[in-house]
């Protein structure tokens, strides 16, 4: 059986106050948080320093914030991360004299999510890596919210990240957007074009294979399940080979491919229990990588406990007659 201990750590990001707690409560209780953007009032003042190249967006942001009855003082924001990293070193410097120093507590950033979704978890991890706070709204697939239908009319699926009323859809697309829009360290994608192409390739490979094959393991029966198990292990072994002896897919640092894959590890217990297999026995390096990732706050905070995922999976199978 997959032994698992979730590390509970206090958040190091002091400014992630009520928003983060609300997200936790929503995920656990499966409640909908109703936020009306125009009536939202922040408890604190937010000090933001924006780069000159982002002045257009900051103007829009300021306009929206003034509509939301917030008061913003333009000053210098010194982040915890900024101090830890000894000041931000931008890989891209739009204007030499001004840097974007982040921890921007976004008042107008909403994530539409469904807590067991590995795709939603990717976005949470990416936002946590960048130290960006956001409002998390849980969707009910039996009754999709009008916001979801409005923001993602093409697919009507989560996750959707809504920034200043503008939606970004598709999880890896959102992760790349987060990496670019908050372009301080840590970078999720490498800067070298070839390495970026490789990261995108593996992200795409994970998208094409892990969920669809994995589903046959936890919902399938008989021959279909056996084939699914075989293909699932093959897929994980290909990924394990790509990982090699590196600590992360991103090399020395956690990155895009790690973000793409690690959420599925919260489903490992479900795959193993339903499929009667041991992922650790088949792919020990991959499981070691998963444990290494769980030592990161951004991952530990964003992944539900595997037993909760298993309970959800069992309820799903029951309600869909898949037992």
């Amino acid at each position: 059986m997959y032994g698992y201990q979730k590390k509970k750590q206090a958040t190091p990001f002091k400014h992630l106050g009520s928003n983060d707690l609300k997200c936790e409560m929503a995920c656990q209780a499966n409640e909908e948080i109703e936020i009306r953007e125009n009536e939202y009032n922040l408890q604190r003042r937010i000090e933001i320093r924006v780069a000159a190249s982002e002045s257009e967006r900051s103007d829009e942001l300021l306009q929206r914030k003034s509509k939301c009855s917030m008061q913003i003082e333009i000053g210098i924001l010194v982040s915890e991360r900024g101090e830890e990293n000894g000041g931000s070193e931008e890989e891209e410097e739009p204007v030499a004299s001004e840097k974007t120093e982040m921890q921007m507590a976004e008042s107008n950033l909403v994530l539409l999510d469904f807590w067991p979704s590995s795709y939603g978890m990717r976005v949470k991890i990416a936002l946590a890596e960048k130290g960006v706070s956001y409002e998390c709204k849980q969707e009910d697939f039996q009754a999709k919210s009008s916001l979801l239908l409005e923001m993602n009319p093409v697919h009507q699926m989560i996750p959707v990240l809504i920034r200043n009323g503008k939606p970004i859809c598709e999880s890896l697309n959102i992760v790349e957007f987060i990496d670019e829009a908050w372009n301080h360290k840590p970078s999720l994608l490498p800067s070298d074009p070839y390495k970026r192409s490789q990261a995108r390739f593996w992200g795409d490979y994970i998208d094409k294979n892990v969920y669809s094959i994995g589903k046959r393991v936890w919902t399938g029966k008989g021959k279909e399940q056996e084939l699914g198990k075989k293909q699932f292990i093959e897929c994980l072994k290909i990924l394990e080979e790509e990982l090699g002896d590196k600590p992360y897919f991103g090399g020395e640092n956690f990155g895009y491919v790690d973000v793409a894959l690690v959420p599925f590890t919260s489903w490992f217990y479900t795959y193993e229990t339903c499929g009667n297999l041991s992922i650790e026995a088949e792919c020990p390096k991959l499981v070691a990588w998963a444990k290494r990732c769980m030592e990161k706050d951004s991952v530990a905070k964003s992944l539900p406990h595997p037993h909760k995922i298993y309970d959800f999976a069992m309820q799903y199978k029951q309600s869909h007659g898949l037992e």
Binding site: V154, I174, F177, A181, P193, R196, S197, R200, F201, D204
Partner: protein, 232 residues
């Protein structure tokens, strides 16, 4: 200046995915060697450079292979950054471009291709309707993204022009095979005019396969598939 042998593209003339890579390389004025894969077999070079999927296109830059057409286009854009930009520069616009390109590949084009194998008239009609609805979304997206300019990319062709435009030849083949018009002045005027401009663009016109040739190829493929599945 890149010497021809530095950049190789493994591909095949009918493939819309290969076409994407060719247009991107043309836009950046990159010299490259085109290796035409023989239909029905896979070269040793292809198997070695794309062991995961064994599919074309594969771009080989120096000794480094890059696979998957949209990933190749992004690589070309980032590697030859002095040429005209293929992707927009603003993160939000880039996200929108990536979203629609994924939509084409995951939804629109697979639906279009599946019309060939439709079981019965009802399924055929349903799929045709799905394609029309999808194209209506793309027409709407074109109007919003182009902001009245010639291309999705604005004044110049960009990522979405390449991603969508590469399929125009096959779209015409499906139109002719089914006796329908997917793009017409009544329902998708923006895209009709855009397709005209795209097809005559310098980076596109010499590599765009003729619809007639594609139709012949489609007939050849259909006959081959029928022969393969015929009872012995």
């Amino acid at each position: 200046m890149t010497t021809k042998s530095e950049v190789k593209l493994l591909g095949a003339w009918p493939s819309p995915f290969v076409l994407r890579a060719r247009i991107a390389l043309n836009l950046k004025s990159v010299n490259y060697e085109f290796h035409e894969e023989i239909f029905g077999s896979k070269s040793q070079l292809l198997l070695e450079s794309n062991p995961v999927y064994k599919k074309i296109p594969v771009l080989i830059h120096g000794d480094k292979p890059i696979c998957e057409s949209l990933i190749i286009v992004q690589y070309v854009d980032e590697c030859w950054s002095s040429g005209p930009s293929i992707l927009p520069s603003h993160p939000y616009d880039r996200a929108i471009a990536r979203f629609w390109a994924t939509y084409f590949d995951d939804k629109l084009f697979p639906t279009m291709r599946s019309i060939v194998g439709a079981q019965g008239d009802d399924e055929r009609k349903r799929l045709l309707q799905e394609v029309r609805e999808g194209l209506a979304l793309v027409e709407d997206a074109f109007n919003k993204i182009s902001k009245g300019k010639a291309y999705f990319g604005g004044d110049q062709i960009g990522y979405l022009d390449i991603a969508f435009g590469s399929f125009m030849g096959w779209l015409r083949v499906h139109e002719a095979s089914n006796g329908v018009k997917f793009l017409d002045q009544g329902t998708t005027p923006g895209l009709v005019n855009w397709a005209e401009r795209f097809g005559t663009h310098d980076a596109v016109k010499d590599v765009l396969p003729e619809t007639g040739k594609l139709m012949e190829f489609a007939k050849f493929m259909k006959a081959k598939m029928a022969a393969a599945s015929a009872p012995k």
